[in-house]
Amino acid sequence: MIRTLAGAAIVAALISAVLGTLAAVAGARLRRTTLVRAAERAVFANFWLMTLANLAMVYALVTHDFSVSYVAQVGSRSTPLFFTIISLWSALEGSILFWGWVLSAYTAAAVWLHRGRLGTLVPYATATMLAVAAFFFILLVGPANPFALVSPAPLDGPGPNPLLQNHILMAIHPPFLYLGYVGMTVPFAFAIGALLSGRLDAEWIRATRRWTVVAWAFLSLAIMLGMWWSYEVLGWGGYWAWDPVENASFMPWLTATAFLHSVMVEERRGMLKVWNLSLIIATFLLTILGTFLTRSGIVSSVHAFSEGPIGMYFLVFIVLVTVFSVALLAGRSSLLGGEGRLDSPVSRETAFLVNNLLLTAFTFTVLLGTLFPLVAEAFRGVKVSVGAPFFNRMTLPLIMGLLFLVGVGPALPWRRTPPGHLRERFLLPLVVALAVLGLSLALGSRDPYALLAFTFGGFALSVNLGEFVFGTRARMRAQGEAAPLALVRLVRSNSRRYGGFTAHIGVLLLAIGVAASSAGRVERQATLRAGESMSIEGYEVRLRNISAWEEPQRFVVAAHVDVLRGGEAIGGLDPRLNFYGGSDQPITTPAVRSRPHEDLYLTLIAFERDGSSATVAAVVEPLVGWIWVGGVIVFLGALLSAVPFERKRVVVGAAAEPLDPEADALETAGAAR
């Protein structure tokens, strides 16, 4: 019953996506509003159909309907309800189903907000999004069908991957990742729509930038949550291993970041049109490439989904999208001309050019490193590894360059820099930077990259915070407002600008946290008997005892550890090993004592089965918490810069741009809503 219903919904969504694509293209070419309306209806129908299919899967999971193949694969009667629900995205088929829902929701939102505007651009963009959706629906009908029949139905299933049901962050990291990843489809569709309709004006840029900011905000948060999840679950006290799948989520983030900066140059100066379109297309392709890498089993990774025949489908899709976009970009070059003009090499524009260069080189390095094992195997026939040491060596100089720019860029004015400006703007930040450097040296930091990161970070933080301080002061003087009111009004007066600075501050906190925690990390491991202790960085870690107990879905062994400082008990930590049914490899569950200045991180490595002793690893890492706080600030800043606080300046002329004259009345009614 549920299988038939959901299967029908997916097939209906596929048909409606294909027909909708055709209708939208035909409507745009023939200038027929009725066809465009039909495509819009297909978009909304798809949203409801995918909602239905996803709810059906949740229902099947919750009711333990093991005749549904996906439930038989990831369900288990002993898994708690909460983890049963989120196992919707814990394996390949379910994740594609969820992807389909997120994509249809984005498409519906984009069409709802922009319909009747931007001329034929929106119908073409609609067609693009529907075509992408059709690809995912084909996967759901064919190689990744989550609703296949299992007969006879098993009585119970193995449950979701233990790594994924061991922590609450698995409930929020994947949805945000999809919101970020899938969200990049919208700007891509607008880029294709702009190329097809020939409309590359200011309104197009505004819409595309806003959608990119939204997706970028979610992607930023998702990457940070993924780091946090690694930290809380994987048990080695790290959060970023340059794993292929981490790289896959990072690359589109880099290119989207580049776009968000260079698009400002296009807005102000009408330059870099081709470059910006290329960045959007590359971002979208990198999200699909990332999905391909995770889902095809082409690279080995801790997060990789099980292998399937689906890789070939993705490859064909990547080829189609690439050929289509490149041909379009090349074929429309007459639209994209326009010689650039710069007034001075020392200007905001140049800073953005260098920013784009560094971010693109960064992306290329990560891409090359991620794929190099394949390259080596193809050319040398030898398996090689490309891991953290390589990526750190290659990207740290680029990261330092970017940290430098986050400080210098915002202080450079557009067009040209008047004499004396730099001295005036950089004096205080320079003092702060030197003070931070001195403090770091005094605290014993010797790692050159960490010192550089602290110095540049201190400089950039004071420049970006300074923007808020100076703006607020100016308002207080000019309007006579109190400081808090002046700050709020300042931010609201130009939320885009101050949202950007907020995101900078978040990125800087994150970077400082990463630098401090990786350079200042201290680790110690010891086998302790009950009552024994080891000391690390002024903490005394004393094993009280070990206990074990059974929970419905797992077996837990926990070491109970007292933490002392200066002979005084300051708390208890219980690092655990969780054994999930059907697997002999325990899942480490570290215990963390988190403070703003440092974390104490304990992992239970091993234990004697008679409970006499336990091997415990202790790690002390400074400023780890700053990473999570920074990530949240980036997210909030990006949202701030996407939200239009200023009253939308609806240009009636732009809205009423009828596709066919008879529809004028309808169009105006739509725009007035």
Partner: protein, 171 residues
């Protein structure tokens, strides 16, 4: 997949064993010992400051080795037993006077080039080290050329006076 899903019964038996064992031990460990009576943990907990340099070199080498039983994590970072023993081998060999390169070669001999987390910088592998910098240099060249071309005032047009936009108006 190496570990097959064994029947649940087997796992339960195994776990039963653990519970039993721990239950028995918890009784015995009731009285906590004072700090003076402690038996030191294993060697890693009691190493002196004199070994600090050796430890640093050990972790340097270990972070360049891929943990064979993990996914992409280094021997230095992995909490697994094998990685711990491999760190022990690294420390031993360094203490015996071998150079870091010789220690790396020892592991490469056992596991193949795969064990090195950073490809050896010779021969074909140089591609992955050189190409990114070449790309960066090329990009820098493009920017220099473009900025020079774009800042050249077009013939017959007077250069504009310096008028930076007031910063509060910038997006």
């Amino acid at each position: 997949m190496k570990t097959t899903r064994a029947p649940r019964i087997v796992a339960t038996l195994l776990l039963g064993l653990i519970i039993q064992g721990i239950g028995g031990a918890a009784d015995g460990a009731a009285a906590p010992q004072s700090a003076e009576q402690q038996r030191p943990g294993d060697g890693e907990a009691t190493r002196g400051a004199a070994d600090a340099a050796l430890e640093r070199r050990t972790s340097e080498v270990a972070s360049g080795l891929r943990c064979p039983v993990c996914q992409g994590v280094s021997v230095e970072d992995s909490p697994t037993e094998l990685a711990r023993q491999m760190r022990g081998v690294v420390r031993e060999q360094l203490a015996a006077g071998r150079t870091p390169d010789e220690v790396r070669a020892f592991f490469e001999d056992k596991y193949g080039e795969w064990i090195l987390l950073e490809p050896k910088a010779n021969g074909f592998n140089l591609v992955v080290y050189i190409l990114p910098w070449l790309a960066l240099l090329a990009g820098l060249g493009v920017i220099v050329i473009v900025v020079r071309r774009w800042t050249r005032p077009p013939p017959g047009e007077a250069p504009q006076p310096a008028q930076p936009v007031a910063s509060s108006l910038e997006p």
